[in-house]
Amino acid sequence: MRPTRGRGIGGGPLRAGASLAVGCVASALVVGGCLPAAATAEGRQIGSLYGIFVAIASGVFLLVYALATFAIIRYRVLRRRDAGEPRQVEGNDVIEAIWTAIPLLIVGGLFVGTLAVLSRTEARAATPAAEIHVRGFRWGWSFSYPNEGVEVSGLGIPGPEVVVPIGRPIRFAITSDDVIHSFYVPQFLFKRDVLPGRQNVFDVTVEEAGTYHGQCAEFCGVGHSAMPFTVRAVPPDEYGAWLASERAAGGSTPPVSPGATFLPVGSP
């Protein structure tokens, strides 16, 4: 049963493999951990859930990598035809039951966490502080505040800027004029599809004042990568002032002129 040691086939490659494995784990842990800082209450919950998932995933990851690396290093042999066959083990019901049961418990736990966060992201406030109707179209966005008589819209880059108050739930009701788009603000850790013929509704509570980049996330044709928008989150009094100035300016900003449209310059 003792493995033959020494200068073996693949000794070098295997050591390289072990270091590659370590490198993979390290980069995985680094790479997996980098979500943007969430700007919304819902996003923070999603971020925490993600943190829990990554912690458990890292444990599983390290365990499996360690086992596999152990097997490779401990049981490799110099030549194919060294004496005799190893012990012919066909299985072990007990440990097989264990490594079925433990993952089952883990995913059960992950599911409970998922339900908890879903109950928050899918919740609807009784009285949102603002209600914004979003229309996506090829290739731009329109944001209207039906209770305030204000509309903001824009084509292509840089796209329109929607202003929202912080600290209280705001409601987005989204729909599309043509194909499916998706309303995606990376710093909200959230997106929802913008469907033709249907309206999707979701609430978010922005907690940090700031300017957040938004973009279309569902492929919608040649302008897909060029329909961004901006969400500017401001304190409630500033939000009130902005609404007043928009109303004074006529209630709606016209779409950006076609001179600034979506197609990136310099297509070959």
């Binding site: 086939i9 693949g10 490659p13 493999g17 490198g23 993979c24 995985a28 997996g32 980098c34 979500l35 999603i46 993600y50 998932f53 995933a57 599983v60 086992l67 596999a68 097997a71 049981y75 490799r76 060294d82 066959e85 190893p86 012990r87 066909e90 299985g91 072990n92 097989e96 490594w99 079925t100 993952p103 995913v107 992950l110 599911f111 998922t114 339900l115 879903l118 992201t121 043509d178 499916i180 998706s182 990376p186 710093q187 997106k191 599809d193 469907l195 033709p196 249907r198 999707n200 979701f202 980049h213 996330a217 569902e218 492929f219 044709g221 040649v222 897909h224 990568s225 990136p264 070959p268």
Partner: protein, 561 residues
């Protein structure tokens, strides 16, 4: 390629084109599937390189947005349906009859028809490049209503529909054939639980195809009616529903992912025991895990639709999570097959161990995106791109290379040059890590997929550049593989029937096996009949029975009556 002197049957000894065009031999059909799929793989790979070149820097340098959209559409379509699926058909055509000890498939002519339908379908999809407006440009998922003529009027999209419908029919025919062959043509003594694990993979996969492919065939037919005959199945302004397309597409599309996974899990379960010199750890659990993954894979389709807002989020989260359990069982069984063994690392085993390390990462990120709220961030970003390539390239394609290097001596009678095969492995593995790991971070930081361009100030430039470098490393490794194949084919056959000391019946036949495969079979008392025969021979028991069938004539079990 020639079957050489080992055949005594009235088959033309030379490999003239007519022999290949008219063949119903499962081995020739398998080889044709492999060559055709590999050809499509090269086309899809070139498209990937072009896209990575475009994304290396912000701005448009290599191609127009229109060409970019066509490129990712055809790349995805090829890799899933013209490379992945037919590569499964290549392995299963070649191996299933051999592994169950049969002379051929149950329906050899249907088998040939499958291949030619697939090839025609593939050529029809690509013929979009010959039209004025180019090939389909709606993504391989072809979402409605972007797939309607109002938004994608090109003939290329119609060709895409018709071509894919043909390949789908080919897959269904193949699945019928494999189910029938596995259920009815197993050699005497081979109970279901003595079948090689690869055959279990193909059995479950074939059943999945029978359930899943009719959905996409129907969806494609409906779409063609919409586009050419004014129906409105998916047109929201005329009472149709674009979400219906997503349900039909993913009812096919998610099982399709497992159609591209289970056979390759089967390949690993063949390779690892041979190079560990131990039986597969927990054979029954492995077979059961495959069946369970097959069942579950039919109930997770809408996890691709978490952000649509029109599906049950908890249901599709829990079913998706549950798939991790049987997959984890397989993982531990593979590792425990190695533990206590005597491991030997030629190219097939390197690929198998590489699979364990790379696929795990894709499996774990799969659990992340199975959680609906986490998926709200990752859906349609490069995180999902990284995940799916991690599973399909880091998983299925690693196992495909394991299978190709493992059975290459069986199919050609020649061993691959080991240093070249190992160079291929290391270049590919490094290229894989460099290409796809950065894409996780790109997605986590919000870079959407299917963007021809991104702003310089987004901070995505460096990671994109790294990813592009990795893609070219992968391409270089494929060149090394092709060199190894050419080098091997210029040599005389020298592999012998059983170069690896294999377990299953294909290693009992010659390399390449003669027409109708076997003249004699060893007794089948376990899932490793050739291993048993070798042990018996070493022990001096029944030594006279242990001769490869190339030695002389004998009965042909499983042949047509």
């Amino acid at each position: 390629m020639t079957t050489g002197a080992i055949t005594a049957r009235p088959v033309p000894p030379s490999a003239s084109a007519l022999v290949w065009l008219t063949t119903t031999d499962h081995k020739r059909i398998g080889v044709m599937y492999a060559v055709a799929a590999f050809g499509f793989f090269m086309v899809g790979g070139v498209l990937a390189l072009l896209m990575r070149a475009e994304l290396a820097q912000p701005g448009l340098q290599v191609m127009s947005v229109e060409s970019y959209d066509q490129s990712f559409t055809i790349h995805g379509t090829i890799m899933m349906l013209l490379f992945g699926t037919p590569m499964v058909a290549a392995f299963s055509n070649y191996l299933v009859p051999l592994q169950v000890g049969a002379a051929d498939m149950v329906f050899p002519r249907l088998n040939a028809l499958s291949f030619w339908l697939f090839l025609s379908g593939g050529i029809i999809v690509l013929s979009g490049y010959l039209t004025q407006s180019g090939p389909a440009d709606i993504g391989w998922t072809g979402y409605a209503p972007l797939n309607e003529p109002t938004f994608s009027s090109s003939t290329g999209t119609d060709l895409w529909i018709v071509g894919l419908a043909l390949t789908g029919v080919a897959s269904i025919m193949g699945a019928v054939n494999f189910v029938a062959t596995i259920l009815t043509r197993r050699a005497p003594g081979m109970s279901m639980f003595r079948m090689p694990m690869f055959c279990w993979g193909i059995l479950v996969t074939s059943l999945l195809i029978l359930f899943a492919f009719p959905a996409i065939t129907a969806a494609l037919a409906m779409l063609l009616l919409d586009r050419r005959f004014g129906a409105s199945f998916f047109v929201p302004t005329e009472g149709g529903d674009p979400i219906l397309w997503q349900h039909l597409f993913w009812f096919f599309g998610h099982p399709e992912v497992y159609i591209l996974a289970l056979p390759f899990f089967g390949i690993l379960s063949e390779v690892i025991p041979v190079f560990s010199r131990k039986p597969l750890f927990g054979y029954r659990a492995m077979a059961l895990a495959m069946i369970l993954i097959g069942f579950l894979s039919m109930s997770v389709w809408a996890h691709h639709m978490f952000t649509t807002g029109v599906i049950s989020l908890p249901f599709f989260s829990i079913t998706s999570f549950l798939i991790a359990v049987p997959t984890g069982v397989k993982f531990f069984n593979w590792i425990f097959t190695m533990i206590g063994g005597k491991l030997w690392f030629p190219a097939p085993m390197l690929w198998s161990v590489g699979f364990l390390f790379t696929f795990l990462f894709g499996g774990i990120t799969g659990v992340l995106v199975a959680s609906a709220p986490i998926d709200f961030q990752f859906q349609d970003t490069y995180f999902v791109v990284a995940h799916l390539h991690n599973v399909l390239v880091g998983g299925s394609v690693f196992a495909m290379w394991a299978g190709i290097t493992f059975w290459f001596p069986k199919v050609t009678g020649r061993r691959l040059n080991e240093p070249l095969a190992k160079t291929h492995f290391w270049l590919w593995t490094i290229g894989f890590v460099v290409t796809f790991l950065p894409q996780y971070q790109l997605g986590a930081s919000g870079m959407p997929r299917r963007y021809a361009d991104y702003p310089a100030e987004a901070g995505w430039t460096q990671l994109n550049l790294i990813s592009t470098v990795g893609a070219f490393l992968i391409a270089a490794s494929v060149v090394v593989f092709l060199v190894a194949v050419v080098e091997a084919m210029r040599r005389a056959p020298d592999a012998g029937p059983d170069p690896w000391e294999g377990n299953s019946l294909e290693w009992w036949a010659g390399s390449p096996p003669p027409h109708h495969n076997f003249r004699s079979l060893p007794p089948i008392r376990s899932e490793r009949p050739v291993f048993d025969a070798r042990v018996a021979a070493r022990a001096g028991v029944a030594a006279s029975a242990v001769t490869a069938d190339v030695e002389g004539p004998g009965p042909v079990p499983g042949a047509h009556p």
